[in-house]
């Protein structure tokens, strides 16, 4: 199987606070991997370091076996989709234009081609034509997040990173976003997802990694991690989630 992303010994500190203490893992084409872990454990920082929204202190990141450096980062970012906790749609653009702008301004596609791709992407995540001309402020949170997912997939990235994509949503809106992500997984998209939706993780993840205090404490299949956790810390974390505390 072809390897899409490899992270090697990634370290990152904010001032004296070491947030990532040497994280390594890799993801193959078509795989979905889920990261879980307590608040402040470095999950967001890990994702932000992968596409250099935060600059790693040391370690290597390979995309399709090519080392990511500050020099090729703009090329690399085109191939790494990112879906944020708070959607981060462009407020001055309609749903359709949010998806099109990267295709036109970054990929330099002709307008009609961009339009075609944007429409397909929106339909894939269940955003129908009646919402295409709505501005972000006129969409529900669940709709905004699905537009954000469409914006990411329209660029045909090699991998998409998700940072707690449903944690800012009301309970009744979580399902539609998870459903969109499931569709992507079924279509063979490679994904790295930070989430605490364990049922969802069980159904789509090839592997779950437990990140705590900047290290991957344990990793394994959803079965192993959720049903048969080994470390005390993971057991504690899972029971907290079950109680709704994380």
């Amino acid at each position: 199987m072809k390897e899409v992303l490899r992270v090697e010994n990634l370290k990152k500190s904010y001032h004296k606070n070491e947030v990532l203490k040497g994280v390594s893992f890799s993801i193959n084409e078509g795989e979905t991997k889920v990261i879980i872990g307590p608040s402040g454990g470095g999950k967001s920082t890990l994702l932000y370091c992968i596409n250099y929204l935060q600059k790693p202190d040391s370690g290597e990141i390979y995309l399709d076996s090519e080392l990511i450096t500050p020099k090729n980062i703009y090329e690399a970012r085109k191939k790494i989709g990112f879906v944020f906790q708070y959607f981060n749609l462009f407020m001055h653009l309609t749903a359709l234009d949010n998806v099109m702008i990267g295709l036109i301004k970054v990929k330099k596609l002709p307008k009609d081609e961009a339009l075609k791709i944007a429409k397909e992407s929106l339909l894939l995540v269940g955003i129908k034509e009646d919402l295409w001309n709505h501005y972000p402020a006129q969409l529900s949170g669940g709709q905004q997040q699905r537009v954000a997912i469409a914006r990411a997939i329209a660029m045909s990235p090699r991998i998409i990173l998700f940072d707690e994509p449903t944690s800012a949503l009301d309970v009744e809106l979580i399902g539609e976003v998870l459903q969109a992500m499931k569709t992507l997984a079924e279509n063979g998209m490679t994904m790295l997802i930070v989430t605490h939706e364990l049922e969802f993780a069980k159904s789509v993840a090839h592997e779950i990694m437990f990140l705590e205090s900047g290290v991957i404490v344990e990793k394994g299949t959803p079965q192993e991690i959720i049903e048969h956790p080994k470390s005390e810390r993971l057991k504690k974390f899972l029971s907290k989630i079950a109680k709704g505390e994380e």
Binding site: L53, Y74, L89, F90, M91, H92, G102, V106, A148, M155
Partner: protein
């Protein structure tokens, strides 16, 4: 003919000339101010240490000194060195443009900072360069946010353009003084100037509100305003 009519009709051409210069100075200086303001705001937010220092010094210097002193330096000061000799009108437009630039730099800066950083992260994650980000994502929103400030600036410059009279530009205030001295109808002449300023300011304000409404986007600009 009433005294008011004498002041108005006998000196109609003077009033028209005054209005022309007032508008010319106002519009050109705000345009210069927009270009400079955007430039200095971008330098201050996104520039390296050097550009930041240049922008901050400029803004401090201009905002910390009276506009009339700046105009004197530009016209009489520079003129006396023999290096550059501006006409009074040029000096007024350049001086007020440089002045407006410093204030507008701050309007622009607060507008840039008002846009949630998440949008910057999203744009970068799509592969936008910094320039692409500024011009395609941030600027269209910044313009909508600064529109009300431009209205303010436009009206302020309309009034401040009267300072050009000290450089002997025949703008509205200079015309009213001239007409007053010719007819001895000072009250009528100055009142007429005031009425014209008021009219211009109100028209400009309404025009800007129209643009604010035209460009308004839910979640970016203020809700639709009623004229």
């Amino acid at each position: 003919m009433s005294s008011f009519e004498i002041v108005l009709f006998k000196y109609k051409d003077f009033w028209l000339m005054g209005l022309k210069y007032t508008m010319l100075i106002t519009v050109l200086s705000i345009l210069i101010g927009i270009v400079l303001g955007l430039l200095f705001a971008i330098m201050r937010i996104y520039g390296n240490k050097f550009f930041k220092a240049v922008a901050v010094s400029y803004i401090d210097l201009i905002r910390g000194t009276p506009m009339i002193v700046q105009l004197f330096i530009l016209y009489y000061g520079l003129g006396s060195t023999g290096l550059v000799k501006f006409t009074p009108l040029q000096a007024a437009i350049i001086g007020m443009g440089l002045n407006s630039g410093a204030y507008q730099a701050e309007y622009f800066r607060t507008a840039f900072l008002a846009i949630p950083t998440g949008q910057t992260e999203a744009a970068l994650s799509l592969g936008f360069t910094r320039t692409g980000l500024i011009f395609n994502i941030l600027l269209p929103q910044v313009v909508r946010i600064v529109l009300p400030s431009w209205t303010n600036e436009l009206i302020a410059l309309t009034q401040y353009s009267s300072l050009a009279m000290v450089l002997t530009v025949m703008e509205l205030t200079a015309v009213s003084k001239y007409v007053g001295s010719k007819t001895f109808l000072y009250i009528q002449a100055f009142s007429l100037a005031g009425i014209i300023y008021l009219f211009v300011s109100v028209v400009l304000t309404r025009l800007m509100v129209y643009f604010e409404n035209r460009l308004s986007i839910p979640g970016v600009s203020a809700q639709k305003l009623r004229i």
